[in-house]
């Protein structure tokens, strides 16, 4: 008697579970740190089974198996995680590797990588749609728009700002077409290096001439520079108003450069009234 | 059947190297080319080899201008042993000798092997056949290179075909026994196999002993040319080398002169 009921129920349960599987992907691999952050923001972190090496936020992402850097990920490494969905930044590649994933029957969703508010919204919609979390996506975008709009209503300082990134020995300044520049603009700050494109090694002499009133940098950059005092003591920087008044804002790397869902937080920190850094 | 340079004029870097030089080798003879340093001996040999084209005059192989003969066909008729050879690459003596047979792709490997064995034996390096070239002494290397050009001069000869051998200071790093051995072999091959041989030498007495003819070069032209006795006279030699000398009959080789520079 009982056995016959189970014989009927088990396939039914199985059917339900597989149909649920077909609806919402349960094993997701993400190629691109900004997308990983969105997936976590949508509360889908538990569905991720792998990510690339640029996925460093939130801390939970550190525990995911890594399939290489997203521009040169390992096809087999991704396949081995048996994903039913792959979320890829449009910069993920090489292109042949994306094609190979598709040929292997994997569902790959490619999302824009631009550092603009519109692209960020598209990224969120795309990730949410692929994860079957459309409503959460809409809510996240709405919150984002509301927060950004609210922040922008506050008076902007328009302070002359130097955005400094240091990865190796040489400090670089961020110009146009960088995620950092986008964040600065939304924060109502004026980038002193708006005359250049991309990240370029700093010309200390021209920094002195540009007289920035504020220096924005990232945690890792400050480490590479040897701490805030070493940074401000550099010739060229030392003479700037920013250095003299120790006006420095330090943000977490992905917060400053990632253009992810924490954008309002980044803007809020950058909009804090200019005061002396501790 | 001959390899003849006629009325050659050649200037290099604004300097006249050869002016109106005529000189040739026929099948069966050994021509010694003598002269002071910088007299143009090697240049003359390079002209005969077809490496250089004269600015005026002509070089002809069996009556055909050398300029019209392509490299591959020329290699089947004449072999050249140059002074400077490439750095010692890790090849076996056997490999180097076998290169002499490259112009004759029609030969089967066994035939090539036979010619190489003969040539290595003639050049007295048969015992080195399995050794690596860079391990050899300078003299041994020179004899191995000589064996290579012997292979080229002797492989796949057709009846009635004359072959020419051009040697630029082949005895430079050899001991006296091997110097004489090499030139004796050249004389024998000219006589027995009908090779036409031109050899640039510094040792006047070596040339006196083994050459059928000698050409003496000085000041871009030929001072004297003919049999050793005709050419090796005090006047000619002093004009060439600017060194006083006396001529004596060779004590052991009748009919050959012996030159003593003082």
């Amino acid at each position: 008697m009982h056995r016959s009921i189970w014989r009927f129920l088990l396939p039914l349960l199985f059917l339900l579970s597989t149909s649920a599987l077909a609806e919402a992907p349960q094993r997701v691999v993400v190629l691109g740190g900004a997308l990983t952050e969105i997936a976590y923001a949508l509360g889908a972190g538990d569905r991720l089974v792998g990510a690339d090496q640029s996925s460093i936020y939130p801390p939970a992402a550190h525990t995911l198996p890594k399939v290489g850097y997203y521009r040169q990920f390992s096809v087999e490494g991704v396949v081995a995680l048996r994903p039913d969905l792959i979320l890829a930044s449009e910069q993920a590649g090489p292109p042949e590797a994306i094609n190979q994933l598709r040929r292997l029957g994997k569902r790959v969703v490619v999302l824009p990588a631009d550092a603009s508010l519109a692209a960020l919204e598209q990224r969120i919609y795309g990730v949410a749609g692929a994860l079957q979390l459309r409503n959460d996506g809409r809510a996240l975008v709405a919150r984002l728009q509301r927060d950004v709009a609210a922040l922008q209503k506050q008076p902007a300082s328009k302070a002359r700002t130097l955005l400094l990134i240091q990865r190796g020995r040489q400090a670089e300044g961020a110009g146009l077409d960088t995620a950092a520049h986008g964040t600065l603009q939304l924060a109502g700050l004026s980038n002193v290096l708006a005359g250049q494109k991309g990240y370029k090694p700093l010309s200390l002499e021209s920094i002195a001439a540009l007289r920035p009133e504020l220096i924005v940098t990232s945690t890792l950059s400050l480490q590479a520079a040897g701490g805030i005092d070493a940074l401000l003591a550099q010739p060229g920087i030392a003479q700037t108003p920013a250095a003299k008044q120790r006006r420095v804002i330090v943000l977490d790397d992905l917060l400053l450069l990632g253009f992810g869902p924490r954008l309002p937080e980044a803007i809020a920190q950058l909009r804090k009234p200019l005061g002396k850094a501790s | 059947m001959s390899l003849i340079a006629h009325d050659i004029h050649l200037q290099r870097h604004g300097k006249i190297v050869l002016a109106g030089v005529s000189c040739g080798i026929a099948s069966g003879e050994v021509l010694g080319i003598l002269g002071a340093n910088g007299a143009g001996k090697s240049t003359l040999l390079a002209l005969l080899a077809g490496d250089l084209a004269p600015q005026a005059g002509s070089v002809a192989l069996d009556g055909k201008p050398l300029a019209g003969v392509d490299n591959a066909a020329l290699a089947r008729r004449r072999a050249v042993l140059s002074q400077q050879l490439g750095p010692a690459f890790n090849l076996s003596v056997q490999d180097i000798a076998a290169m002499g047979a490259y112009p004759f792709p029609e030969l089967a490997p066994q035939q090539v092997g036979q010619v190489c064995r003969d040539a290595l034996a003639m050049a007295e390096v048969a015992h080195l056949a399995q050794r690596r070239y860079p391990e050899l002494s300078g003299g041994e290397q020179q004899r191995v290179q000589f064996a290579r050009v012997l292979v080229q001069a002797l492989a796949a000869r057709q009846p009635g075909e004359a072959r020419y051998l051009l040697l630029d200071e082949p005895t430079a790093s050899l001991d006296p026994r091997h110097q004489h051995g090499l030139l004796a072999l050249a004389a024998r091959l000219a006589h027995d196999a009908g090779l036409g041989i031109a050899v640039v030498l510094h040792d006047v007495n070596l040339a006196a002993c083994w050459c059928t003819r000698i050409a003496l070069l000085a000041n871009a032209s030929i001072v004297a040319s003919g049999t050793p006795t005709e050419v090796l006279q005090a006047g000619h030699l002093e004009a060439t080398y600017r060194q006083p000398c006396t001529i004596h009959p060779h004590p052991t080789r009748p009919g050959r002169p012996l030159v003593l520079f003082a």
Binding site: V67, Q72, S74, L81, L104 | Q84, L85
Partner: protein, 340 residues
């Protein structure tokens, strides 16, 4: 110390070639059987014999991974190894220098310049990067060749090659300066070399071309041996030296150019494989060319295998592996050679 000599030299070459071919098959098998996706040996063999292991859910996945991901990659690694080693051997004979490689005449730097131009100025994409890299190789080579023509022998070509290399390097530096962050990343990955682009499609495009040219290169063994004696002596042996030089350089470019375009710069194999064979077996190109080709194939298959398994499930750029393994090994060879 003189290398040991087998009493009968006739069989030794065949034995060496057989041994290397065996090693290559072994390495290929190792590479095929390991990777991020664990495939049981039994299933591997079943797939190899054309059967689909039906009794497992993952059978289809295994089959695709093996046949569509690993196999083209292993084959491409072999092909790239063969081409790099042969081109290296050609360059070393042509320049009569055991440390020469095709890069000396600007082929690699030109390819890199083409690729970087495509990435920075034209927006990148494999369809742009590969043809521009190939065009860059040929252009740099043509420039070096024409500049060097006025000097006798290979010395002029070599000097012109140095000049072209320097110019390409500076232009790459300039473009790197202009590049934005993401372009920089692309450039870095391209310059470190990778076989990640290997697919049946790419193999079908490049495979026949590279194989035919490789076979053609093998036929030049006599000329290459003769060049070891010097260009004049080679001429005396009947080789039209100028035309020969032109042909060999063109052959090198036609082999390495497309490869650089497809894989980026993979260092050391072209330098070390022929050098190693020459030290072990001698410089006779009849044996050197096929042996170096097989050695190069073994080296790249092994390097790719390492690149794929060391940081699994991620992978390293193969150029890093060849450099990390090849560099110290080469230094060891040089030190050993000096001591002898």
């Amino acid at each position: 110390m003189p290398p040991p000599h087998a009493p009968e030299t006739g069989h030794r070459p065949l034995r060496v070639l057989g041994l290397l071919a065996g090693l290559l098959l072994l390495l290929a098998f190792l590479s095929l059987s390991s990777g991020a996706v664990g495939i049981p040996l039994k299933a591997l063999l079943q797939i190899a014999y054309g059967a689909i292991p039906s009794n497992h859910d993952d059978a289809q996945l295994w089959r695709s991974v093996l046949l569509d991901v690993r196999l083209p990659r292993v084959l491409f690694a072999m092909l790239a190894g063969i081409v790099l080693a042969l081109a290296g051997a050609l360059a070393q004979a042509l320049f009569r220098n055991p440390l020469a490689e095709p890069g000396l005449v600007g082929i690699t730097a030109g390819g890199a310049l083409g690729a970087v131009t495509a990435i920075v100025l034209l927006g990148g994409g494999f369809l742009l990067v590969a043809p521009l890299a190939f065009a860059g190789s040929l252009l740099a080579l043509a420039a070096a060749y024409h500049l060097g023509r006025h000097q006798p022998g290979v010395a002029g070509l070599l000097l012109a090659g140095i000049a072209v290399n320097a110019l390409c390097a500076s232009l790459i530096g300039l473009l790197t300066y202009l590049a934005d962050d993401s372009q920089l990343r692309s450039i870095t990955f391209w310059s470190m070399g990778s076989l990640a682009n290997a697919s049946w499609h790419e193999l079908s495009l490049l495979g026949p071309w590279l194989l035919v040219l490789s076979l053609l290169a093998l036929r030049y063994w006599r000329a290459l041996n003769a060049l070891l004696l010097g260009e004049r002596a080679a001429g005396h042996l009947g080789f039209p030296v100028k035309a020969l030089r032109r042909k060999l350089i063109l052959l090198m470019a036609l082999m390495v150019g497309p490869l650089v375009a497809a894989t980026g710069g993979i260092g050391f194999v072209g330098l070390v494989a022929p050098h190693l064979v020459r030290m072990a077996l001698g410089a006779d190109h009849r044996l050197l060319l096929p042996t170096a080709a097989l050695t190069g194939a073994c080296a790249l298959v092994a390097a790719d295998w390492l690149a794929r398994i060391v940081v699994m499930p991620a992978e390293l750029p193969i150029g890093i592996v060849t450099g990390l393994v090849g560099g110290p090994f080469f230094i060891y060879l040089l030190l050993k050679g000096r001591g002898a």
